[in-house]
Subunit: 487 residues, 2 copies
């Protein structure tokens, strides 16, 4: 039986309408930035605002009699569509203003923004008006906000947040009763998000960075987005102070956002016994040390410089931010391989980071070693434990299916990108970096390059990969399952 008819389409339109109205206000903020910096882009933002506001307003107005019925099916559909709709309207300023006249490019840049990926088709960033750069950073900041709510409040409600819930319980939030607390939870998480953004802006401003660049970089750090207002990214700023501040905040942005929440409530025990945080820290330290040592030996500069270069790139790629202070493609093959490995790990669950996520990597590694134990004692039942609790078998299975899907999508998409004429390294790099919401890849899409030379069809595929990765695969893939559309 087909259930398309029983899906509450009106409520979907209504919610999308509300979100478009929200987006239109951010367009208005960019209009104000345009006025302040007198960069002649005001008209483009006013028109974009008007189109977005009127479309959103109409959707809300014409669905005012809709039923309030809102189930999981509607949830999945909205979550997948909202990123596409917001990217469509979000690309308006680029097109109207002429900064990115090509529609495919404008959509790619905006989707890369909202999914906090940071892959760019631009090669003239510093020539762009302030307000356009501000909007570009803002798409990432909004996307980051969206992701926190999505991963800590909405996905668990849809039955997909097993991993997140397990790694750090969100106060008062269980999959079955989201409604009463979702607003409160979201508010608390956003306060933390805004707080960190403000703190980073201030710390950068105190350094040598001007206020405009400070706020932009704070936006895209906290979102683990990686859009910079400079063509050469953070390499533009040679100040070690600025680089260390950014390393610190990238690292924070890659932590589960319920942990700072607990920390602010002085519940440090919950923070320190968190196995995901331990693993995340360990990965950061281990990769930094190996790379720093190798860089120092191969004559990259002083020990401090090698350490800073290593740590910056490790934290940037691991958290899927994608800022650059050194072109890692100029490093030795070993180091490139390590960076490529990091691309598959990603940030912590419940952070703005993408990728497979530390908790999943931790779970499957644990499962491997538990499997060896099980082979030694084939008749014993040996359940896996995490954070002191038993991990239910269906959750393990879900994580393993996730990783297989992730690698499968990576392989098929790499083959497809290779079929467009990209060499193997660029094909694999472009897929790994978009699916993981990172930014820079390998080969011709490396940190010193951009995505403008990718054929149009390739840009659409990569845009779709950003969405897939951002929504933890299943949220999108489930829409393609025939059983989803059956009663």
């Amino acid at each position: 039986m087909n259930t398309f008819s029983i899906i509450n389409k009106k409520i979907i339109f209504r919610l999308l309408g509300y979100l478009l109205i929200l987006e239109s206000f951010f367009l208005l903020v960019s209009y104000i930035v345009s006025i302040i910096y007198k960069d002649d882009t005001g008209a483009a933002f006013l028109i974009s605002f008007a189109i977005t506001f009127v479309t959103g307003g109409s959707a809300v107005f014409f669905t005012r009699k809709s039923k309030k019925d809102f189930g999981k099916r509607e949830g999945y559909i909205i979550v997948s569509i909202v990123w596409i709709i917001c990217s469509l309207f979000g690309s308006l300023p680029y097109i109207i203003n002429g900064s990115i006249p090509n529609f495919t490019n404008a959509f790619f840049e905006t989707m890369s923004g909202f999914t906090t990926t940071g892959a760019s088709i631009l090669n003239n960033i510093e020539e762009l008006p302030h307000s356009i750069l501000f909007w570009r950073s803002l798409t990432q900041w909004m996307g980051g906000m969206g992701i926190i709510v999505l991963s800590l409040a909405i996905l668990p409600f849809l039955g997909m947040g097993g991993v997140q819930l397990f790694s750090a319980e969100v106060p008062g939030l269980t999959p079955d009763k989201m409604h009463p607390r979702v607003k409160e939870t979201a508010q608390r998480l956003w306060i933390i998000y805004v707080g960190f953004t403000a703190a980073e802006t201030l710390l950068l401003w105190i350094g040598d960075m001007n206020f405009f660049d400070s706020i932009n970089h704070a936006f895209t750090t906290m979102a683990t987005g990686g859009y910079s207002t400079k063509q050469t990214s953070i390499a533009f700023y040679t100040s070690p102070y600025i680089q260390y501040v950014i390393i610190l905040f990238m690292f924070i942005a890659g932590v589960n956002f319920s942990l700072p929440y607990f920390a602010l409530k002085f519940q440090f025990k919950k923070v320190f016994r968190n196995e995901e945080l331990k693993t995340y820290t360990l990965i950061t330290i281990a990769f930094t040390l190996v790379i720093a040592l190798k860089l120092f030996i191969t004559g990259n500069g002083s020990l401090e410089q090698s350490f800073r270069d290593a740590m910056f790139q490790v934290v940037s790629i691991l958290t899927t931010t994608g800022y650059v202070t050194a072109d890692y493609l100029l490093w030795t093959p070993l180091l490139i391989a390590l960076i490529f490995t990091l691309m598959f790990i990603g940030g912590s669950s419940g952070s703005t980071g993408g990728g497979v996520k530390v908790i999943r990597v931790l779970l499957i590694l644990k499962n491997c070693f538990y499997e060896l134990k099980r082979l030694v004692h084939p008749k014993a039942i040996i359940p896996m434990r995490l954070n002191g609790k038993t991990v239910p078998q269906p959750l393990v299975n879900n994580v393993l299916a996730f990783i297989v899907f992730y690698l499968l999508i990576f392989m098929i998409s790499s083959v497809f990108m290779a079929s467009l004429g990209l060499d193997m390294e660029s094909a694999m790099g472009s897929v790994a970096t978009t699916l993981g919401n990172i930014g820079p890849g390998l080969g011709s899409v490396g940190p010193a390059e951009n995505f403008s030379h990718i054929p149009s069809i390739g840009k659409w595929v990569l845009s779709f990969l950003m969405l897939l990765g951002r929504l933890e695969l299943f949220t999108v893939l489930i829409l393609f399952a025939p059983s989803f559309w059956k009663k």
Copy 2:
């Protein structure tokens, strides 16, 4: 508590002794070949025979009072050690004769033989004496025999053969009662193996190939080994007939050996409903068609030539044989990516092929799609089905752990090979091809190259990877589990 003391070491020595005596007889056969072709290598084989026979004989003699107690622990230890011991003694002729004077190289070549990998350090194959070439092919043929018994009789007894047992029941064989039937099963399987080898020899001989080359290629085809008596591998033979014969037998060698057994008993239903066989055939056809088409379009030659080149390379890599008729590294990046993908699939379970194995790939892909179904119906219990039977959850978990270990070992080893100075493609290619027991890799270890330029330490690591891959990972890894050594 340490159980090292309660392990029946004597029975281990005794069995290894018997296997060395068996190996020594094959060395004697090579001696006879040396006499027939008057290639002055007789002495090397006689000495090797003597050393091997006396060592094996002594081990058997001095352990004649050992207890017959033989448990799983002893089984795991023997299975892992026997490949190393046989490779050590098997490298004697190369060293004594001076064909491969370097010990590391000789061990690499022999381990590559016994594990039916086919990766070679030789670049002067046609200059070598007949008997040395014969011994080289024979190591693969023996290895193939060993693998069939291992995967269809011994691993199930050790509790590792869940996958094999599931994909095609071996007549009268259950994990709990191996002893009475293992000999009978082994005999039946070997008759099939010998029969196919004889048939291929005959068919090649009927073609333009001389008898010596025919029997050598039949040995290494049926073992999915891939050692050739020609430096340019099968590309030496331009006859389409010869190439098609080899394609046919490579394909057969990649099928579960209990299926020909059923076919010979006219139980075709069991063959045709086998899902692994269907998937294996489908993969072969799909990859062949895509590659053939692309080759034809890019001007590789006639349609037949493109089809043959595509099918030969696809079957050779998928079955992990590793013969070459065309240097796939000269193809477009898309096709190289496809070949690289094939390296991770491998042959069927219970065949002489290596890699992850078709059944495991099939199982994890099925699991992904079942997981989507489970997400749509979170409260329903949806078990996976294969060949019409329900797949138990622990088996799924085992397969997933296997694949994660496989990829993990692939990644860590690739990073290690890169640290030796190999470029990323060569590092990944050398690891994928040895872990999968294939032969040729990518980059500097591609089909037109060999492994001689790899640093010594790299050769030892790759040799270990061949062993790991050949023994389905867990058989070796379990020895590193602390719980294995506890009571």
